[in-house]
């Protein structure tokens, strides 16, 4: 048991570090990494693309991809080492998480040789940006209940319907979409998977305004959008299997800070805020609560290290990885709520110039519900842990063996 790099990891860290020092500026220790902004401007996107092209040209992009697609054929641990080092430098936000982490591997697994040759290197170099078109207003956690249709028309398909929660659709060039091609088949059997041109006629992208005022996601409307059959990934009716490949590649949160940085901020706030005429940090109820937050944060951090160790020993991370998000997402909301409680009546103020730490906790409290929902809700993650780790019985499915068109549905959209 140790926290040291293996010789191979150390060598790669040194190499990565040297390149980063030459090409980027070191971040101040307290300066958190730039999260992907809400509604990025053209300048941010251009900077992200330029940084990606530079990394690609000098051999530091898509590290785990095979060399034939522009990757470096490195291990996932070396990729984590890279991420740790890159995070120490001021770099543009990463707009390629979904493309490189999920869509690329899907294309590698299911694409024809022509499709791989056509798309993968460009995807890797980042000049063509991809988005994912999966969720729909009536198909979120129950993704296979999606209704966007693709109907055969000559040598192509015509797509109609609506997708939602598509991160980055507004700056993407291409997307991967799951559609229903056979409403008479059972739910999971009637789906097909396509690559779609986001600039094609009939594609309309609309930002969604979130409860925190930001707009990181989009609705995407498809009105008679023509897609050539050569853009199909996998067989007609086999779209669910292709989609599962995409979903399996959703990144396990590895080597994340575990919220420990935020914890220090919370301690600082407890020093600043007053309770009974003394710093709140001297209040026993506050201290007990802080201890629990710290212990959970550390538990998450060391769980990440256990996962990383399994990776470096050549094991595939299993569904245990769901713990990170199942616990981490509600934890960040709880910490933010407690921080606002410490502020007393000032917890009802949200003003950068007046609120402690420039409104950090107000922002966090408004943003945190999104983390509990996106990429698998708290509830879905508990199902995953229950069914795939503890092997408890799967949910009863009343819609399993019926033609899709006979499955009753409500509508979540306002008329």
């Amino acid at each position: 048991m140790d926290f040291d790099d293996t010789p191979q990891e150390a060598a790669f860290r040194k190499k990565a570090r040297a390149w980063l020092e030459k090409n980027a500026k070191l971040r101040a220790p307290d300066d958190a990494a730039d999260e992907l902004g809400e509604r990025e401007d053209a300048g941010t996107i251009a900077a992200a693309k330029a940084w990606q092209a530079k990394k690609f040209d000098e051999g530091f992009a898509v590290l785990t991809w095979p060399k034939e697609y522009g990757g470096q054929a490195l291990s996932r641990v070396e990729n984590v080492v890279w991420n740790q080092e890159e995070a120490k430098f001021k770099t543009p936000p990463n707009i390629y998480g979904i493309g490189h982490g999920m869509l690329g591997p899907t294309l590698m697994a299911h694409g024809t040789p022509e499709q791989k040759a056509k798309y993968l290197r460009d995807m890797a170099r980042g000049q063509v940006v991809w988005c994912q078109l999966f969720s729909e207003p009536a198909a979120g956690s129950d993704l296979a209940g999606l209704r966007t249709s693709a109907v055969r028309d000559g040598d192509g398909w015509v797509v109609n319907g609506q997708k939602i929660w598509s991160t980055g659709a507004h700056y993407s060039d291409l997307g991967m979409i799951v559609t229903r091609t056979d409403p008479d088949a059972a739910k999971h059997a009637g789906l097909s998977y396509f690559i779609v041109d986001m600039k094609a006629k009939g594609v309309e992208v609309r930002p969604i305004k979130q409860i925190n005022g930001g707009s990181g996601f989009n609705e995407v409307f498809f009105s008679n959008v023509r897609v050539p059959d050569s853009n199909r990934l996998g067989a007609v009716g086999d779209g669910w299997r292709v989609a599962l490949t995409t979903l399996m590649n959703e990144r396990v949160a590895i080597g994340a800070g575990g919220g420990a940085g935020r914890f220090r901020e919370l301690m600082n706030l407890a020093r600043q805020a007053r309770r009974n005429g003394r710093p709140a940090l001297e209040d026993s109820a506050v201290r007990q609560k802080l201890a629990d937050f710290y212990i959970k944060s550390q538990g998450l951090k060391y769980t990440g290290m256990r996962t990383l160790t399994a990776l470096s020993q050549g094991q595939t991370p299993g569904p245990e990885g769901s713990i990170g998000k199942a616990v981490g997402a509600p934890l960040s909301q709880q910490m933010a709520a407690f921080a606002l409680e410490l502020q007393g009546a000032m917890g009802a103020v949200h003003a950068e110039d007046l609120s402690p730490q420039e409104g950090l906790w107000q922002d966090a409290y408004l943003g945190s519900p999104g983390i509990r929902i996106a990429g698998g809700t708290d509830e879905i993650l508990r199902n995953i842990i229950a069914e795939r780790v503890l092997r408890l019985p799967p949910e009863m499915r009343v819609d399993k063996d019926r033609p899709f068109r006979d499955i009753p549905s409500g509508s979540v959209r306002k008329a």
Binding site: M1, D2, F3, D4, D5, E9, R264, M267, L281, S284, R287, Q288, L290, A291, D292, Y294, I295, K296, Q298, G299, L300, K301, Y302, T303, M305, R306, L308, T309, A310, S312, Q313, E320, I323, A326, V327, E379, L381, R382, N383, I385, A386, E387, V389, L390, R391, L392, P393, P394, E395, M396
Partner: protein
């Protein structure tokens, strides 16, 4: 980075599990719980022969010369099997105290007997309600101890106690042989009768200082940190076993035409329990690393492991009873064995809220530095 146990260490764990599956069935725990005997003497002899009592003791003192990374995995198995023996008091506390602070003479005198199991050690800190190391009235003067220690985990069956006492204007640790004149040991009715609690009354009992005079509180606190990590593994073992048994039961118990394990409300609660156990395990791993490297990080890692593991085991015990329904509340089912053990282990080294406070005090110091 390698944040895992080695193959050799895992082999030690497997050996321990195999042994305890054979010799420490839950029926063994129940037999102690239902009888007047304070612990299972055969099992105690058996684990001594396996070398576990002296796992981290050098061979020259009769030990097995292993490290703490092996010992914590044995502890996990002790916890899984709810072994009804005074393992934690003798091994994590008394033996550790001698190893770290004993003079050569003290080590020679006591360690071989602790390793062989002929002598049971205990750690006597508390004097009644509240914080474990709160007010101490017991005095150590001119080689004699006077005062009452209550409760002392396994204090009724121990032959040797490490006692925290006032000495002059400070505190010291002292070793007292419990068969000596001036010592009275009584068994208390324990919340978990498969693990003992005792009272030790000392009246001019001959004692021998352990470690430096005047540093008793500091030494006791550091020893409790070490024990907390080892106990955390015991608690995690117990919690994981409770979840396994509960899973089996809910898979086979049918209601409303389906296994109760198929109801989402139970699935989600079992998932939450699993997450609590794994987060505790991760904190305990870090504690084990700090323990085995004598790292200063132990001051932070130990309370984190202690709280996470105590809370996870408590949750496991409570959920186990609840998810079994009516039979969970019967004497006949084993749920109460876990429910009781969770409480006993959660209290014996001081309550989790006491350890939360310790953690914050230490973080304040660290942030100030």
């Amino acid at each position: 980075m390698n944040f895992d146990f080695s193959e050799d260490q895992k082999f030690v764990q497997k050996t321990a599990r195999d042994y305890l599956v054979e010799h420490s069935d839950l029926a063994v725990c129940r037999a102690v719980l239902e009888s007047e005997q304070p612990y299972d003497k055969n099992l105690w002899k058996g684990v001594a022969e396996m070398g576990w009592l002296g796992a981290v003791v050098p061979e020259s003192y009769g030990g097995a010369g292993l490290g703490h990374l092996e010992l914590v995995l044995i502890a996990e198995e002790i916890g899984r099997s709810l072994a009804p023996i005074p393992f934690s008091s003798s091994v994590y506390l008394a033996t550790e105290a001698l190893l770290r602070h004993g003079s050569e003479e003290q080590k020679k005198k006591y360690l071989p007997r602790l390793c062989s199991g002929d002598l049971i050690g205990s750690f006597a800190v508390a004097e009644g309600l509240g914080d474990l190391d709160g007010a101490v009235e017991t005095r150590f003067e001119k080689g004699k101890l006077t005062g009452t220690k209550l409760p002392v985990p396994d204090g009724d069956v121990a032959g040797l106690a490490v006692v925290l006492a006032k000495e002059g204007s400070g505190h010291s640790l002292a070793l007292v042989e419990l068969g000596a004149p001036g010592v009275a040991q009584t068994a208390l009715k324990s919340f978990d009768p498969s693990r003992s609690m005792g009272r030790i009354e000392l009246r001019d009992a001959p004692a021998d200082r352990l470690g430096e005079a005047g540093r008793g509180r500091e030494l006791a606190s550091a020893l409790l940190d070490r024990a907390a990590v080892m106990m955390a593994f015991e608690q995690i073992g117990g919690a994981a076993r409770a979840l396994e048994i509960t899973r089996e039961f809910t898979m086979n118990r049918w209601a409303f035409g389906r296994p109760v394990a198929s109801f989402q409300v139970l699935k989600h609660r079992m998932a939450d329990l699993y997450a609590a156990i794994e987060l505790a395990r991760s904190n305990a791993f870090y504690g084990a690393w700090a323990l085995s490297h004598d790292a200063p990080e132990l001051a932070i890692a130990a309370p984190a492991a202690r709280v996470a593991a105590s809370d996870a085991f408590q949750l496991a015990g409570e959920e186990m009873v609840q998810m079994h329904g009516g039979v969970g509340f019967t004497w006949e089912y084993d749920c109460h064995l876990f429910y009781r053990r969770a409480r006993w282990t959660g209290a014996a080294l001081g309550s989790p809220s006491e350890w939360r406070e310790k953690l914050i005090q230490r973080l304040e110091k660290q942030h100030a530095a």
